[in-house]
């Protein structure tokens, strides 16, 4: 018996079968920290100086917390923290933001992988 498959069926099935391979497709050759930034941070932050829902992260390393130029929507906890964003402080913050600074407005739950945090911070340190 001859079985025929319509072009529509073939394309539909192909698209679904491609799903598990998307992570590999997304990897590309970009620096790992930049990739992590695009995946986890870029919805709310830029590294160009433009403030979005969150402040721009250009020049974040070495900056006083709660002091991004032109950004006013900080929580009181962030504004009054007195922190300076060193690589170590960023690492602690990114691990569990709401535990490091209680009542922080950022809803990001945290990045548990230490290697990914290091790569992200390394990328941010290049955005001056």
């Amino acid at each position: 018996m001859q079985t025929t498959v319509s072009p529509g069926s073939a394309l539909f099935v192909t698209l679904i079968l491609l799903l598990p391979g998307t992570a590999a497709l997304a990897a590309g050759n970009a620096p790992a920290g930049a990739m992590i930034f695009e995946e986890l941070c870029a919805e709310c932050h830029s590294t160009t100086g433009k403030n979005k829902k969150g402040p721009s992260l250009r020049g974040i390393v070495g900056r006083m917390a709660g002091r991004a130029q032109g950004f006013a929507d900080y929580s009181d906890g962030m504004k009054n923290s007195g922190l300076v964003w060193t690589a170590e402080q960023l690492d602690r913050y990114l691990t569990k933001p709401d535990q490091f600074i209680p009542r922080v407005k950022m809803t990001f739950k945290g990045l548990s992988d230490a290697r990914e945090r290091a790569e992200l911070i390394e990328f941010l340190s290049t955005r001056k």
Partner: protein, 439 residues
């Protein structure tokens, strides 16, 4: 808008409600740049493919937050505009040319819309659309979703709760698997390309003819619950807004209050997301010129959705819904009938670099055969819709972002069965080239 029409039509028994509604309700969905201006977020933050209406998790939260998220900068004007122009070719010519047009190969400005869209007050936001239909050449009230929303902490968990006043069941839904916002997001005007007649009532037949009020809750753990009810809009309102173009034939509308309910679980895992849900509505429809008991409908749907977002360079989505409708036709036919009508929609898409998109969708409607109710004895229709599109703007680096937005697409709909018949179904196959802009 889906290929929706009244579920109990044909053979002159009743008037196809969605076709009436379609005279004024746009077939396109919305991409609204005033939201982008209000939030300082690019279109691509809230929408898959950098153009509405397919929502990412961020867009879902923005909608459930009542369209009120805003930067601290004052002076955002919650107004936007939209134009959709297209060219339609069907395999067979239409039996009769629409007024001002030909029996085939029609090009027109299909829709021109003005939106009041954005934050109106601290907790109050709106998505209200008035549309000029380029085929009927009439203005009409299109989608309305007026929201009040607040956020609170309960047992350490952030909860968003609110209410929606709207005019189309599921227009208030945050997922693109329920009827109003499911693919295809724009279609050829129905006057240029016939669509299957039978469809569950919840999938379009009430659009613009009702008002609904619902309350909802969205927890930080992703549970979404909504409950509300719909009632028929006033006859004079429907005439004034061109939903009823001919007062002598007002069609059908709700009898009493129709309860609507929705439950969903939405898991935003940042790199990807998925959702699972159920929704439903119980209603009675009665001809506005009759004092009869009306017909009863119970619609229950399940839906699921997966999005792989990653770095937004390669974005995959797959999702769909299955709606089961049980009908108790007490009025339409002389002899009471209990019928079934089920509709399946499955859609998969891939977008590259927030610019190039390919979408494939399967639709399949099946129901109880009835030789009196349906022209070919069955309501069954099925087929495929394919679309490829190009969206050059809506990204952080885009020219005059977020004021300039454009999508150019080519869509092809192929029918295996149309209104109960395989024979001649392909004559309705439709090619639609569209240019869609929002500002």
């Amino acid at each position: 808008m889906s290929n929706g029409a009244c579920s109990c039509c044909l053979t002159g028994c009743c008037i196809p409600l969605a076709l009436l509604a379609g005279m004024v309700l746009a077939t396109s969905a919305q991409a609204v740049p005033s939201f982008s201006r209000q939030t300082s977020q690019e279109c691509t933050t809230c929408h898959v493919g950098a153009f509405g209406p397919q929502l990412t998790p961020y867009g879902i939260k923005f909608k459930l937050g009542g369209y009120t998220e805003s930067t601290s900068e004052p002076g955002h004007v919650p107004l936007s505009g939209m134009l959709v122009a297209g060219y339609t070719h069907t395999r067979n010519d239409l039996p009769q040319a629409p007024e001002h047009f030909q029996t085939n190969n029609n090009a027109t400005l299909g829709e021109a819309s003005v939106f009041l869209a954005g934050r109106l007050h601290e907790n109050l936001g709106a998505f209200a659309q008035v549309t000029w239909d380029g085929v009927s050449r009439r203005w009409g009230m299109d989608s309305l979703d007026l929201r009040y929303a607040r956020a609170a902490r309960f047992a350490g968990e952030e909860i968003t709760f609110g209410a929606s006043l709207n005019n189309r069941p599921t227009v208030q839904d945050p997922l693109n698997t329920t009827p109003v916002w499911s693919f295809p997001f724009t279609t050829s005007p129905e006057d240029f390309a016939p669509v299957p007649t039978a469809s569950p009532v919840i999938a379009g037949a009430l659009d613009g003819r009702v008002f609904g009020l619902s309350a909802y809750l969205f927890t930080g753990r992703g549970m979404y619950a909504e409950i509300g009810g719909y009632r028929a809009a006033g006859r004079q309102y429907l005439i004034d807004t061109n939903v009823i173009p001919d007062p002598a034939e007002p069609g059908r509308n709700l009898l009493g209050t129709a309860p609507y309910w929705r439950l969903a679980y939405i898991d935003d895992r940042t790199r990807d997301m998925y959702s699972l849900g159920v929704f439903g509505m119980n209603l009675r429809l009665r001809d506005l010129n009759s004092g009869g008991p009306g017909d009863g409908f119970r619609d229950v749907g399940i839906d699921a959705n997966y999005q792989y977002l990653g770095t937004r360079t390669h974005v995959f989505t797959v999702g769909g819904s299955y709606i089961a409708e049980r009908q108790a036709l007490d009025e339409t036919l002389a002899e009471k009938r209990n019928l079934k009508l089920d509709q399946l929609k499955l859609t998969a898409s891939y977008h590259y670099n927030k610019t190039y998109g390919v979408t494939v969708s399967r639709f399949d409607t099946r129901g109880t055969p009835d030789s009196i109710l349906y022209t070919h004895g069955k309501p069954d229709s099925n087929g495929w819709t394919y679309q490829t599109d190009w969206t050059p703007f809506g990204k952080p680096e885009s020219w005059h972002e977020p004021w300039v937005n454009l999508r150019i697409g080519l869509q092809y709909t192929r029918y295996g069965k149309f209104d109960g018949s395989s024979e001649g179904a392909s004559g309705n196959n439709c090619t639609y080239l569209f240019i869609w802009t929002a500002f």
